[in-house]
């Protein structure tokens, strides 16, 4: 396929995957990259698995092929592992926020809780670089998505994407105290 960079995002409904996706898409647009993407809507808010596709470059379909993501961004431990195993390309990159929202089978005792090391092992099996994010003093758990964006910027995980573009995208999407708090988190 022609030159492009595929990002697959995942988490649990309610974690702010939609904002994460919109932020990265708009930042990429500000960087002059061609953007195609697609979010999960509908049932998403109801605590199920939520995913989003973002494709930068010369593609037509908004859907990242299975096992084709250059970068997997996840906001939850189990979903990070699932996405790493199903969507991450061999030699890709996984960046994830280590929140653990247990799936039902774990809560009912049918499945042992996952550990962060399980996610690392799954990523390692794909030969992936892995960045785990966990911020102790986050003022609001709904800012975990922006904490991950900060890590993406710090490590330069999306080619062509810089701080200025992310800040411009933030200014497109929020205002007032929310904008200030999230901008602060970026630094």
């Amino acid at each position: 396929m022609r030159e492009h960079f595929d990002i697959y995002m995942s988490g649990v409904g309610g974690q702010g995957i939609g904002l994460l996706a919109e932020l990265l898409a708009r930042a990429a647009d500000h960087a002059g990259l061609a953007v195609h993407g697609c979010d999960t809507h509908g049932l998403a808010q109801r605590g199920g698995m939520v995913t989003s596709h973002l494709r930068l470059g010369a593609v037509r379909s908004p859907l990242v092929p299975d096992g084709g993501a250059d970068l997997v961004v996840s906001l939850e431990r189990t979903e990070a592992m699932r996405a790493a195993m199903t969507m991450l390309k061999t030699g890709g990159t996984l960046v994830w926020y280590d929140a653990a929202w247990q799936a039902l089978d774990v809560r009912t005792g049918q499945h042992p809780p996952l550990e962060a090391a399980d996610v690392m092992a799954a990523a390692k099996a794909k030969g992936a670089a892995t960045w785990r994010v966990l911020v102790d003093d986050l003022p609001d758990s709904r800012m975990q998505n922006v904490a991950v964006v900060a890590e993406i910027l710090r490590r330069g995980l999306v080619p062509g994407l810089g701080r200025a573009q992310v800040e411009a995208a933030m200014a497109d999407l929020m205002a007032g105290a929310a904008l200030e708090a999230n901008l602060a988190l970026l630094h």
């Binding site: 708009r26 109801r46 605590g47 199920g48 195993m85």
Partner: protein
Amino acid sequence: MKDMGRILLGHEAFDELVIGNTAIARAMVESGVRVVTSYPGSPTPEIAEAIRSMPADERPMYFEFSTNEKVATEVAFGAALNGRLSVVFFKSVGLNVAADSFVQLPLMDIPGGMVVLLGDDPGANSSQNEQDNRHYARMSYCPLFEPSGAADAYRMFKKAAALARELRTVVILRMTTHVCHAKEKIHFDSWNPAPPDDEPLFDPDYTNYIPLAATVFPMKRRALERLAAIEARLPSLGFDELVDNGNGQRGVIVAGLPFASVMDVLDDVALGGNTPGNEPSGARRPDVLRLGAVYPFDRAAVRSFLQTHDEVKIVEELDPILEGDIKALAFDAGLRCRITGKRDIDETMGECSPAKARAVLAAAWPDLFPAAAIPSAAPVGAIGSVAAAIAALPPRPAQMCPGCGHRSAFHAIKKALASGDITIADIGCHTLGSLPPYNMGRVLLSMGHATSTAAGLSVFNDTRRAVCFMGDSTFFHAGLPGIVNAVYNGHRVLLVVMQNGTTAMTGHQDHPGTGRNFSGDAGKISIRAALEGLGVSNIREVDAYQQAALTAMTREALEEPGFKVIIATHPCMLKFIREARRKPGWSARRVRIDQETCERIHECVEHFACPTFQREADGTVTVNPDLCIGDLSCRQTCPAAAIVPESPARSAT
């Protein structure tokens, strides 16, 4: 912060990154659409959100959420009869509800023109099936156009609306989930609004509007002649696209989003050819004919494509509709082209994603792609192969939110049931009660079916009691006839109306029981009063958090003859907390598990199963502070009374 509503009403041309649904709202503005109706259902509600974002006093169209899709269709039709360009939109299965009126529309002369905008759902992402609504176009003689992306949807809507208006008819724009939600940067044209002419134009003397016996036939003839006229104009409408790769041997015919999938995977054909040592034998990109007009389709263009290729593969999402028509066309014309379509049942199921398009093309032409890298079978931890590891991960279906009143209601009602009793689900958030650990509501057909299905289950059955569930929006949508029937025919059924004061699953739209409509305050229709008006005499009401009372009244009601209703009310807590957070002085509330008191009974985490409760490897239960909203509905479920409000203690919401 960008103001999308103002952007959508801009007079100058602009470029903006939007999803397909938002692009459609701008297309409506530019097209001069005057009346828009809908019933909320994924994947379409964001069209209404885009319309809502426009300042109300500058919004060029009237919008309403009607009580159901049939009503919405009729309102849009009536407006179009008066000369207003109208749009009705809803989800795939909404067309079943609308069908009785919808199938009549192509018979009519509609001065304003009308667009039926469908959100079909290949892959059944958020629907009870993945029905292919192209069948409805054929059975009703309604033209159907199919965009393959968000920008395409914007351009195609404008052409389709103009065509409908010019020909005084109805057309379908069939979008699918990932066209509605596809995000891309779109160039929008300028908008030069003209003052609307709202003269009511309905003229029953101009043409006949009453299809009755013999008068049906001139109307049917007109519908069929209109289809032929549209087909003749297709080359100039530019809905279709020919991708000429200079391949006289192989061609692909495709429509909708699968066009994007096919184009993406065909890029790999060239790449494979350019990779030394990985060159497929003689692989060249097939030519591609993409049909934007699907019914009618441009038979001349298809015939020409068949004539100029030795083999044509039809890559078609869901049902083999084009396949049958194209094969018939080739047969009638005596063409020698080898046409292949669906190979098996799997090709009739699911969305035609790039991965699927690749598999379908590779199966037709094994030499097309370079040998794909074999997926790594490296062990992950101690679990074994990657596939086994993926399968071993705990699934994460949607679930009821923390504090959901439905969870409380199900937990309470379940205690009142005997093991053989039968529970019937309906559509809405409470459908999630059908999943473990609740297993409440074990059969589901459609919106509003629950009361009547329960009635049937109660016939010749004096031993296993029937309890059905229905949400408040569904009650008004399609619930009333089944309730009237249960009263009229005296069915022994218990209906629990799960009233959360909103249309929750689709994004918190108002309904006739909320006291608001899209435009503002509206008369609130009381469910109790409606039930009483329908002749229901046995009605109980309870707050869904009052679990002991709900259990007791369920027990009582199940002993009583005839049709009974319990209205179990609690506001949608997702909506409630979102709104509460915006208010000044709001502070988060939570519960905690008093570990000294906790006896590891696990009622909270296993049976009440609020997602807030987490189970540690040693059996300790904790509360996830990201999830808990401190609603306290869980407190009554703990036999050891170990669930306590985090200090400072606050009262329940």
